[in-house]
Symmetry: D2
Subunit: 332 residues, 4 copies
C-alpha cells in the first residue's frame, strides 16, 4: 500500500517514519510547503518524492492512501480532493473545522467505498487500551465520571483556541470509553493574550448520570496530564507523565448500604489495595498505522473512522458555542 503524506511539520515526520518502517505500507511521496521542512524530509527519505505541491500527491496514480497532517482548516479540502481521486485518507485530529464538512467527507467516502481514519492516536496507547479493557471487563463497574486535566505552557495556535488544540485527545478517549452518546455540553474559558481562549473548562453530560470534565490550559507553569475515572466498583488515576506506573487502580469506593429516615443515609467506605498494571510500551502511532493498513486491505471501517471524528467535532463545535455564550448548555 503506497502512502503520500501531506504536511511535514511537527507530527508529519512521525507519521512518515512509521509508514516507512511498517510491513505492508510504503512511503511514496511527501508534500510540504516549508522549504526547510522539505529539505529535512528529503534527507531522511532520499528515495521518496518530496514536493511543495499537495496536488501532486493527491493526484498521483501510484498512491493508494493519503495522510493529511496539516492545520485543521485545511483538512476538508485536502481530504475531499484525496477521496475524489480515489484515495483512502488518514486525517489528523480534529477531523474537520465543522460538522458539515465531516458529514460531507463521510458521505463521499461511503459513496466511493473508501476508508477514513481520524488520527485519535491516544486510543492506541498502552494506557488507553488498558483502561478500555478495565471498563469492558467490568473491573471499574458502572462509570460515574471522567475528569481530565491537560495543561502546560503551551504553543499558542493562531487559528484555534485551547479547546480545539488540547481537548480532542480527551473527547476521542471519552467517545471510546464511555457508554452512551454525549447529550449536552457546557464550556467556559477566557482569552488573555490574543483572540483565542487560552484556558477553558468543558463539561459533557452523558446518559445515566455519567459526567465528563476537561480542564485545558496553555498558561500553566507545570505540565499536567492526569485523568481520574470513577466507577461504582473501583476508581483509577491515569497519570500519563509517569514513566512506569501510568495507571493506578484503587479498590476504593462508597457503598450506600441502607437509608434510615431522611437524615440517616448510611454510607460506608471501602478502602483496599492499589495496583498498577504493566502497560504495553509499543509506539501508539505504529499500532494505529498498522490498523489502518489492515482496515483498508480488508475493506473494514476502523473504530476511529469518520463518524468517530464527526462525534468529536460535534462536541468541539458545541463547546465553542457554549464558550461564546459563557456556559450555556448546548445539546448535541
Amino acid at each position: 500500500m503506497n502512502f503520500g503524506v501531506i504536511g511535514y511539520g511537527y507530527w508529519g515526520p512521525n507519521v512518515a517514519r512509521n509508514l516507512a518502517n511498517l510491513d505492508g505500507s510504503q512511503l511514496s511521496a511527501i508534500a510540504e510547503m516549508s522549504p526547510a521542512a522539505r529539505a529535512r524530509a528529503q534527507k531522511a527519505y532520499p528515495g521518496v518524492l518530496v514536493t511543495p505541491n499537495a496536488c501532486e500527491v493527491i493526484q498521483s496514480p501510484d498512491i493508494d492512501a493519503v495522510a493529511v497532517i496539516t492545520p485543521v482548516w485545511t483538512h476538508y479540502d485536502l481530504a475531499k480532493a484525496a477521496l475524489e481521486n480515489g484515495k483512502h485518507v488518514f486525517v489528523e485530529k480534529p477531523f474537520t473545522s465543522t460538522t458539515q464538512q465531516a458529514e460531507e467527507l463521510i458521505e463521499l467516502a461511503a459513496r466511493k467505498n473508501l476508508r477514513i481514519m481520524v488520527d485519535h492516536t491516544f486510543l492506541f496507547t498502552g494506557a488507553v487500551r488498558k483502561i478500555h479493557q478495565l471498563v469492558e471487563d467490568g473491573t471499574l463497574g458502572n462509570l460515574f465520571y471522567y475528569d481530565s486535566t491537560r495543561v502546560n505552557l503551551g504553543l499558542f495556535q493562531h487559528d484555534i483556541n485551547v479547546l480545539w488544540d488540547l481537548a480532542p485527545h480527551d473527547l476521542s478517549i471519552m467517545d471510546h470509553l464511555l457508554p452512551g452518546r454525549p447529550e449536552a455540553v457546557v464550556a467556559t474559558g477566557q482569552r488573555h493574550l490574543n483572540g483565542h481562549e487560552d484556558i477553558a473548562f468543558m463539561t459533557v453530560y452523558f446518559p445515566d448520570r455519567v459526567i465528563a470534565h476537561i480542564n485545558v490550559n496553555w498558561l500553566s507553569p507545570v505540565k499536567v496530564r492526569t485523568t481520574l475515572i470513577g466507577g461504582e466498583k473501583r476508581m483509577l488515576v491515569w497519570n500519563d507523565l509517569e514513566a512506569d506506573e501510568k495507571i493506578k487502580i484503587y479498590d476504593k469506593g462508597v457503598d450506600i448500604t441502607s437509608r434510615e429516615g431522611v437524615y440517616e443515609l448510611l454510607v460506608s467506605y471501602r478502602s483496599g489495595d492499589m495496583w498498577a498494571p504493566q502497560i504495553e510500551q509499543v509506539e501508539a502511532l505504529r499500532h494505529e498505522m498498522s490498523y489502518f493498513v489492515d482496515c483498508v486491505t480488508n475493506g473494514r471501517d476502523p473504530h476511529n473512522d469518520g463518524l468517530a471524528g464527526l462525534r468529536v467535532v460535534k462536541m468541539l463545535e458545541a463547546a465553542s458555542e457554549s464558550l461564546k455564550k459563557r456556559g450555556e448548555l448546548v445539546y448535541l
Copy 2:
C-alpha cells in the same frame, strides 16, 4: 474575653482547644447535642460548663462571644440568638444557607455594634498569607486565572452538596486574593449516590478577564489539593499536601512581543528558575482566633467579617442555581 462554643463534633474541638490556650480568651461553656461528644468535652475541660442546651450558652451573662461550629442550616438561628443576646459571633463557614440570612445577621450585628467573624480558616494559613503577599507586592503581575482542584473520597453530607462542602475554602481564598468582585458563575455537576451532587465544577468570571475554576469531588480515589495561579509575570502552584514546599513560584510566562499580520502573532516563552519560599508553620486557627479577640477588643471589623461570608454565600447560591439549570450563567 469569655467564649462559649456551640458544636463539639469534628471541628469544634479545635476551636475549643485554641480558645482554651490563647492569651486573652477563656473557654467558659460548650453546648453539644451528642452525649458521647459531651463526655469527651467534659474530660478535656473539667472546669468548663458542658451542656446539651445551646440556649444556656447563648443566654449566659458571663459569655462575651459565641463560636457557632454546627451544620450550616443551624447557623442563622444560633447566630441571630447570640447577637440578640449581645454576643459577638464566630461562625463556621459557609456563613449561612442563604444570602438573605447573611444580610439579616450583618444588619443585626451592625445595629448592636457586635462583631461577626466567619471561619475562613484558610486565609490564616502560612500558604495563603504568602500567596496574598506575592499578589500584593506584584510578584505575579496582573492575575490571569485561579484554578483549584479539591477532591478526595469524601464524607458525604446529608444536607448539602459537594460545592457547599468543599468550595467555600476556595471561594473565600479567591475573595481574598483576586482584585475586583466576581460578576457571574457557571456550575455543572452530577449526583450519583444520593440527592446531592458529589462531583461539581464551578467557573467564576471576574472583571478584567480574570477567571476562576474550582473542581470538587467526593468520589476521587486520591486526595488532591492543588491550585494553579497564573499571572502575567509569574505563575505558581500551591500543593497543600506537600509537607515542606507547598508553594512553588515559576519564573515562566508568555510574552506577546509584536503582531505582524493576522497569522503572525509573535509569542515568546520565558522560562527561568523556580523557587519555594519558606512558609510560616503556625496553626491557622490559632492565628484566626487571636485576630478575632483582637478585633472584638478594639471594635474593628475583621476582613473575614459577615460581608466576606455573605460574598461566599452569594457565590454558592448562584452556583447551586446554575447547577440546577446545567451550567446557565448566573449573575451575582
Copy 3:
C-alpha cells in the same frame, strides 16, 4: 497492671498516653527531671504521681512495671534498679550502651522471672508487619538485600553519634525480617560539627549472601525514609513518608536461565504489575504496649525482648568499632 514511666521528654508522653488509655494497664507515676516537663505531665494526668525522683517510682510497691524512656547511657542503671525491685521493664531503644550491660540485665530478669521489652516500635507498624508477612509467606522469595536510607536535618545528640540515634530502627527491623544472624559489620562515616559522626554508612553481612546497608545522616536537606528490599521473586520499596502507599511490591526480577560458555550468561528480566497493599493504620506504640501487657500477664517473653535488644546493641557496638577503624570488618 500499674505502670511507672521514667522520662517525659520527647517520646515519654506517647508511652504515658498509651498506658493511660489501654485496657489492662494503668498509669500510676511519672518521674522526670525537668520542672517544665513535670508541669506538662501533671496537667495531662491530674491523678498521677509526678516526681523528680526516679527512685520513688522504681521502689513504689504499687507499681508492677517501669517504662524507661531516658537517654541510652541511663538505661542500664534504671532498668537494673527496676528489675532488682521486682518490676518488669520496658526500655527505650537502643537497649543499653554496651553488650555487657545488656547481658547483665537479661540474666537478672531471667533470675527474677521478669519480662524485658525493648521499644523497637517500628516492628509494630502496619508497614513492617505487612513486610514481615510478605517475607514469611514467600511472596518475595529468598532475600538478596535490605537497603535503607534514613536521613534528615537531625537533632544533634550530645552523647551518641548518628548511628546510635537512627540505625537502631533498621537494625531491629533487619533482626526481625532477615533469616539468619548477622555475621559481620563494616561502617564508615564522618564528623563535621562536634565530636560525633553526623553521617554514617553501615553494611551488615548475613549468611547466604544476604547483605544489608543503612545510610544515616543528620545533615540532609530533605527527609528520606526509604528502604529497598530485594528478593529472588519480587522486590519492594517501602517509603515511610507516603501517606497511603507506603509499600510498593514489584513483580520484577532477574532470571538466569542458562549459561552458555564464559561470556554467554543468559539473563532475562521479568517486569510485571506493581501493587500497594493496604496497610493497617493503628498506632504502633499502642500495639506494642498492649503486647507487653499481654506478655507480662501470661509470663511469655516478647519477640522484642532483651535478647533482641542485645543483638541490636551488638551490631551498634561493632559498627562503632568499625567506624573508628575506617571500615574494618568487625565480626559479631
Copy 4:
C-alpha cells in the same frame, strides 16, 4: 578533523551522530564486529566506511582521531594502537582496566603530543555544570559530603561488577567537584546471580573531613538517580530523573553557635527558601565532543584527560580490592 568510531553498540551511535552533526568534525569510519550493528551504521551513514576491522580505522591515514566506544577490557589495546598510529583518542569510561594501563597510555600520548579525552559525559550535563558553579562561587560553602544513589534493574555485564559499571559516573563527578584528592576507599557488596557483585556500597575519604558515598545496585525494582551534596552554607539535592527541577538548593543548615560545658552544645537550625535554578538543556555529549575538537585543534589537554581517567580507575581498583577484603580500607 576526521573521526573514526570503534564500537557501534549501545553508546557508539550517539558518539557517531554527534561527530556527524558537529561543525569542525567529520565522521569518516566506523568499526564494529556485529553484522547487524554494522548494517544499522551503514544505513544511517551511507557515505561512511563501515568495517568489521578496527585496524582499518586505526591505521587509516585520513583519520585524525579515534573514539573507542567498546567494553573496558579492550580500551588499552585499541587506544594504544591508535596513539601509536598518531591518532588522538576519545575513550569510553572507565578509561582502562588497570592503573598501569592508564599510566602507559598517558605517557605514550604525552610522548607523541596527542590528546586523550575520557568520556566522563556527566561533567558536560547542565546539572553538573550548574553544581560545579555553585561549588566554585561558594554558594554551598565548604563541602561536607557527596552521597549518591544510582540503582535500577540493570543490564548485567559479563566482565565487570556493578561498581565498574555504574560508579564511574559519580567518581568522575566527585573528582571534578570536590576539593582535594581522595585519600582512601572502603567498599562492600555482594554477588547474587553470577560471579560479579550486583550490589555495592563505596565510601571515599577526602581531606578536611569531606566524605563521599556511592550506592549502586543492578537489582533495584525502581530507578533512582539521586545525589545529596551537603555544604556548610547550603545543601542540594540533584535528582537526575526529574524533567524540569533536577537541582534543588536548600537554604538549610546547622550552626553551632557556642559550647557551654560538655553537654551543652548549642546547635541552631537554619531553614529558609528552596530554589531550583534553570538548567541548560543542550545534549551533554555534544558539548563534550565539541570541547574535544577544540582541545585537539588548540593543542590543550581537556580537564577530563587521561589523568582524570586514571584517577577514576585508581578509585575503582582500590574499591575492587576493598570489596574483596570486605571493607578493608585501601589507600590511594
